[in-house]
Symmetry: C2
Subunit: 229 residues, 2 copies
């Protein structure tokens, strides 16, 4: 790509991001108006986002209904898993696209129509790169890192781990079988995102899930109707 074309691409990327940010700001205002907490859940493919959601829907069934926007390149499999677990869900397929954007989420929210004071979880496309760049209007971004991926990932994908308000280290039941240092992973996460909250858990065995539920409840309680100015 020549210099002029490159410039056009960069300008257009900036313009796409600016349009997305506008749309995301409106999503955020709508969510505030509805006093609704929205979490943008992100990770590499197969890190356990859907399994964590299934378990969370099940364990919180009596206290807190979840509403889910499910992003995938293809198939409705994850949407069906979430519906079977008992939560209202809208499935978004991105085709060749590598991330959800704010307009997809706006359409998802319109369709999902969560009642006031809800908890909405947006499961992004499995990808540690692109989703980090696109604001969806969520209240907070949560990144999952599974121990089978290696403890170097936070510095190799710094944009993702810098954007996260909370990092969940998942699949700790597999720690005895892999070369993964939780201490190193946490240190590297804080290299790119000082002070970020990190929790270790296993969505399969249930270990460590109480802290995650506590975090959700605290964020839920702190979600008011105040708009950012």
């Amino acid at each position: 790509v020549g210099r002029q074309a490159h410039r056009t691409v960069v300008d257009l990327e900036a313009s796409i991001l600016a349009k997305n940010d506008e749309r995301a700001a409106r999503n955020r205002a709508w969510l505030a108006g509805r006093e609704t907490l929205a979490i943008n859940l992100m990770s590499a493919p197969g890190a356990g986002k859907t399994t964590l959601l299934e378990r969370t829907i099940h364990d919180l069934a009596k206290e807190q209904q979840l509403f889910v926007i499910e992003g995938d390149q293809a198939t409705a499999n994850d949407g069906e898993r979430i519906r079977d677990a008992g939560a209202p869900v809208v499935q978004v397929n991105t085709g060749t696209g590598c991330h959800l954007d704010a307009e997809m989420v706006a359409r998802g929210l319109n369709e999902l129509k969560p009642p006031a004071r809800s908890l909405v979880i947006i499961e992004n496309v499995g990808n540690l790169v692109c989703p980090a760049l696109f604001d969806l209007g969520e209240t907070a971004k949560v990144a999952i890192l599974s121990v089978t991926e290696g403890d170097d990932k936070p510095i190799k994908y710094p944009h993702m781990f810098r954007a996260a308000a909370l990092i969940l280290i998942n699949k700790i039941d597999l720690l005895p079988h892999v070369d993964f240092s939780v201490e190193k992973a946490v240190g590297r996460a804080r290299e790119v995102n000082p002070g970020v909250e990190v929790m270790t858990l296993s969505a399969r065995t249930g270990e460590g899930l109480a802290a995650w539920y506590g975090w959700l409840a605290a964020r839920r309680a702190a979600t008011g109707a105040t708009m950012g100015l």
Copy 2:
């Protein structure tokens, strides 16, 4: 994004892909001129691309030197691991970019200067989405799926698994500890890519690596100087 802007984006994406394809065709011609096999190695983050490469460099040291182009969002860690393993390597950092493109590979080949009749491995950015769309001029695409990611991935990321000439199911040493059916994964891979070759291996224990080395040797032997017309 409105209809007109959307149209501009789609046109520009098509134009970026067309420019990339032209550059990729020149890379492919250069590689043919050099009778050199180039493999585009792709997977999700943490599926074991670098570990497989380290092991391959070590095990083939006496028969076949490898030359490596190493793609990452950030850090030179993987480049250093490959250099330590004994292969000449060029590290490419993509910043916020989610994949290598043909121009990066052209620059990498110019710098790496592999001798005629070489074997070049291009380790793409860890991502199951974007790298599938960008031809690098490689001889063949190889996709790794690790058993910790789940056996549903081929249909959830169909573009990647459709593009692959060979799929390596890695980390089979962890099969006793995870819910993963090799049979289902192979079936789903062939749903999107009928007749694709699939091998199971563990880069950590060495199980199954002989078949991978055999595949490389056969592709190497079949790599001639004929240009596509």
